[in-house]
């Protein structure tokens, strides 16, 4: 894998903090058109759950999409070189809908630090009135079970996928999202595929400059550089409550430790303080 296509430290930290990455107009139009034709024909065929992704979608436009070096780099960085196919779906939002889908997290409650990704692909232009997938940045560590959160209609900082054709959205498995109401006269399509890692998700991305990017232990994340890992991991989402929002920073810290293998990494010294237990023989930092 050419490093140039792997995610960098800033992108990985953003994924850890916000639970998604967005790549606008990444897929060329010839693939967009070909996938739309396959959607119309109903010819997109997945595979049994647990099949290596490299063995899926042979001779199809989805294969061409997945073989794009940019897509390979995203997948490799997050879930490894050849993750397992979990399931796929063509999500269709019918025209002139009376309401949106309820807010939810996919599948069932899932508390792992090992994470799956969902690759969402928008093969056609989605204007505001068509809705777009709605997601809530930073919601992926909240322990909820599927539609239990359906009463949440609007949250500060929510993001709607109003986008051009060929846009890719990569989601952590726990992110809160829903299909927004489609008020147009046309159907809205979105293809998604869920992928499971089959190797430890440790430093799979381009880690060049990780120490310089703030990856080492800091006792206080007073960084002002918005590209700095600790700055990214310490930034509150607009919808975070004062108290629970602090716990989200700890959740991110635990995830970053998991991904880097660095058990000393911290943000704001919040975990290190709790881990200082001289009575148990562990020296303070």
């Amino acid at each position: 894998m050419d490093k140039a296509y792997l995610l960098n430290n800033e992108q990985m930290a953003t994924f850890v903090a916000r639970g998604f990455l967005r790549f606008d107009e990444l897929v060329p139009d010839d693939i967009n058109q070909a996938v739309m034709a396959e959607i119309d024909a109903g010819s997109i065929q997945g595979a049994p759950a647990g099949t290596p992704l490299s063995q899926c979608y042979q001779d199809s436009s989805i294969r061409k999409l997945l073989d794009m070096p940019e897509i390979q780099g995203i997948i490799h960085s997050l879930v490894g070189a050849d993750p397992l196919f979990d399931h796929d779906a063509v999500h269709v939002r019918e025209p002139n809908q009376g309401s949106a889908q309820g807010m939810h997290a996919d599948s069932i409650i899932d508390t792992r630090l090992d994470f799956d990704i969902q690759l969402m692909y928008f093969p056609h232009h989605i204007p505001l009135e068509m809705g777009g997938t709605l997601l809530l940045p930073g919601s992926h560590y909240r322990r909820v079970n599927e539609m239990d959160i359906a009463r949440y209609q609007n949250m500060l900082g929510q993001v709607s996928m109003v986008c051009k054709a060929g846009t890719i959205l990569v989601l952590h498995h726990g992110i809160w999202h829903c299909g927004r109401q489609n008020k147009t006269n046309q159907k809205r399509y979105m293809f998604k595929v869920r992928l499971n890692p089959q190797e430890p998700q440790v430093k799979l991305w381009n880690t060049d400059g990780l120490e310089d990017a703030g990856g080492s232990r800091e006792l206080y994340a007073g960084h002002k550089d918005e590209h700095d890992v600790q700055y990214i991991l310490s930034k509150f989402e607009p919808w975070f409550e004062n108290a629970s929002g602090r716990l989200e920073i700890v959740n991110r810290t635990k995830q970053w430790r998991f991904l880097t293998g660095d058990d000393n990494f911290d943000v704001h010294y919040w975990l290190s303080r709790l881990e200082n237990k001289p009575s148990e023989g562990r020296p303070s930092a």
């Binding site: 949106a100 505001l128 909240r142 009463r151 209609q153 949250m155 927004r180 109401q181 108290a243 989200e248």
Partner: protein, 100 residues
């Protein structure tokens, strides 16, 4: 002649357990049938951004005539789950009765 009234419900998710803290999220249900609300209906610009919340704080809703009918209970964390996050904790429910 009997006046018919229907309930409108406003749910505000606040920054803290204080009613006068800032609004982080909201939901509305209208029993009069005049309005309908749904997930993400406040998204209002092409960048996918969100329009302003209906009120800045819970107290602002009171001042506008909404009656608070439920405060969130303050419950200690379940042992072993002190650091986990889940639902929005500061959910305040309001009602307003409208003549139909």
């Amino acid at each position: 002649m009997t006046t018919k009234q229907r309930q409108q419900v406003l749910v505000l998710y606040l920054a803290t357990s204080a009613l006068d803290s800032g609004v982080k999220g909201w939901s509305m249900y209208d029993g009069t049938g005049k309005d309908t609300f749904t997930t993400g209906d406040a998204v209002s610009d092409d960048a996918g951004g969100v329009s302003a919340a209906p009120y800045s704080t819970g107290l602002d809703a009171l001042r506008d005539g909404w009656r608070v009918i439920q405060f969130p209970q303050l419950t200690p964390p379940y042992p072993g789950e002190e650091y986990s996050t889940s639902f929005m904790k500061n959910e305040f429910i309001f009602e307003r009765l409208e003549v139909v």
